[in-house]
Amino acid sequence: MESWIQRAFLILSLALCSAASLAQQDRTVLDDVISPDLERRQIDEDKLDSENIEVGFYAGVISVEDFGSNDLYGARLGLAITEDFFIEANLATATLGTTSFEDLSGGVRLLNDDEREMIYYNLGLGINLFPGEIYLGRWAFNNNLYVIGGAGNTEFADTEYFTYYFGAGWRLFLTDWLTLRTDFRNHVMEHELFGEPKKIQNIEGHMGLTLFF
């Protein structure tokens, strides 16, 4: 009953607000009619080639605590917000190795092959640091370091784990639109595969190419 009243109240306030806003829109139409007649033209910015979206692939190594160091392949999609900030989504996959216990005990297998397929995806915010030009002979290349951190989901052993990560990297612009990226990140999560809850730190290093478009 209570929630019914709450909802009715919300719907009423929504209706009131939209009525108020309609009245306000009328006023702005009138404002347009009597606006000053100095003509300021707009630039058609669609004619400019905007290069804020970054797409790329990477390969590297991730050390998953207890499960060895494993090859990793991933993709990223990013957006440059300002010259200082960018956001980035990552999706990557790796096949986990065997634990020392499995190696030493003979035939024991803690996870089957499917459960060893690890996939992570995450979203993070990056901050560009120390931008500058570096010189190779007579050529100058734009580059910057960045720190990045975010959160996401890691799936292995048939379970999904909340994972946060932080790290740093280097972006070298080969041209305006082609970059070479090198990243080092630590993915932190907690699992109970061995009975007790255990927080694990998983260091990843990767290199990749990205395109800005």
Partner: protein, 268 residues
């Protein structure tokens, strides 16, 4: 009589007309070609927009960033071709072929080639015009950590639609919630703008794999909520949000779940 001599006779008969025609074509070419050559000479490419500098000078940077070296200044009344953007930086070419980057804040005083002033200020927060929105939030739902990814589209200044994907991680299980929302901002002109949401979705529960498996559960959910958006710039919004999800369970009682979260979004 073979065909070439027919042609010859024909040409002789009309030679005067032909000469006049050639002269006319040459004259026309002489008139057009220099104009075209003049048009082409300035720019390496004809992509983009040509503007005229209105301020005393505009400095060109070697790369898009405030700390980079400035290597050239374009003077008043000089023409610039803008052709590429990255964040708030514009790549320009001067008429003598120098290429560099200019911040948007330096492009406030521009004219088009017909002499009309151009509106090219850095938009303030109140000029958030981009209809698409993408963001992420983190928060808490019944004691579990949650994160949310969402995308939205604004139909009018007041009404937006949003699609959200939320995942919550507690000690014993994971919850996934996908929902579609209608969002209303009663005062879109306020910098800190309150909003209300109404939505519906599906919530799925997964227990942790290693423990004894319970049946994975799935319920429809109805959500009411509200919050506050704060326009940091015309492209970035900070956001605080409260949601109350009502799970339409098959049991006797519906279950209510509260969620608090904070995050930011980008308009594009």
């Amino acid at each position: 009589m073979n065909s070439s001599s027919i042609l010859f006779q024909h040409l002789r008969r009309h030679s005067r007309t032909l000469r006049q025609l050639i002269a006319a074509v040459l004259l026309l070419a002489a008139w057009i070609i220099p104009v075209q050559a003049q048009d082409i000479s300035g720019w390496q490419d004809d992509e983009g927009v040509v503007v005229v500098v209105g301020s005393p000078f505009i400095e060109l940077y070697v790369q898009p960033g405030r700390g980079y070296a400035r290597f050239h200044a374009a003077e008043k009344n000089e023409r610039l071709r803008l052709f590429k953007t990255r964040t708030d930086w514009y790549k320009v070419e001067t008429q003598d072929g120098k290429i560099g980057w200019v911040p948007r804040r330096a492009l406030t005083d521009l004219y088009d080639t017909e002499g009309y002033p151009l509106d090219f200020r850095t938009p303030s927060w109140s000029e958030a015009k981009h209809p698409w929105q993408m963001g992420l939030m983190a928060g808490e739902m019944d004691g579990a950590i949650t994160y949310t990814v969402y995308g939205g589209y604004r139909f009018t200044p007041n009404i937006s639609a949003e699609i959200k994907y939320t995942q919550a991680f507690s000690d014993t299980n994971n919850t996934k919630l996908g929902s579609a929302m209608l969002l209303h901002q009663p005062f879109p002109q306020w910098r800190a703008s309150p909003f209300f949401t109404l939505g519906a979705g599906t919530m799925k529960f997964f227990s942790d794999g290693v423990q004894v498996k319970t049946a994975d559960d799935k319920d429809n959910a109805v959500t009411v909520g509200g919050g506050l958006m704060f326009y940091i710039t015309h492209k970035v919004i900070a956001r605080l949000e409260y949601n109350q999800h009502t799970l339409l369970t098959t049991r006797d009682n519906n279950q209510e779940v509260e969620e608090w979260k904070a995050g930011f979004s980008v308009l594009f």
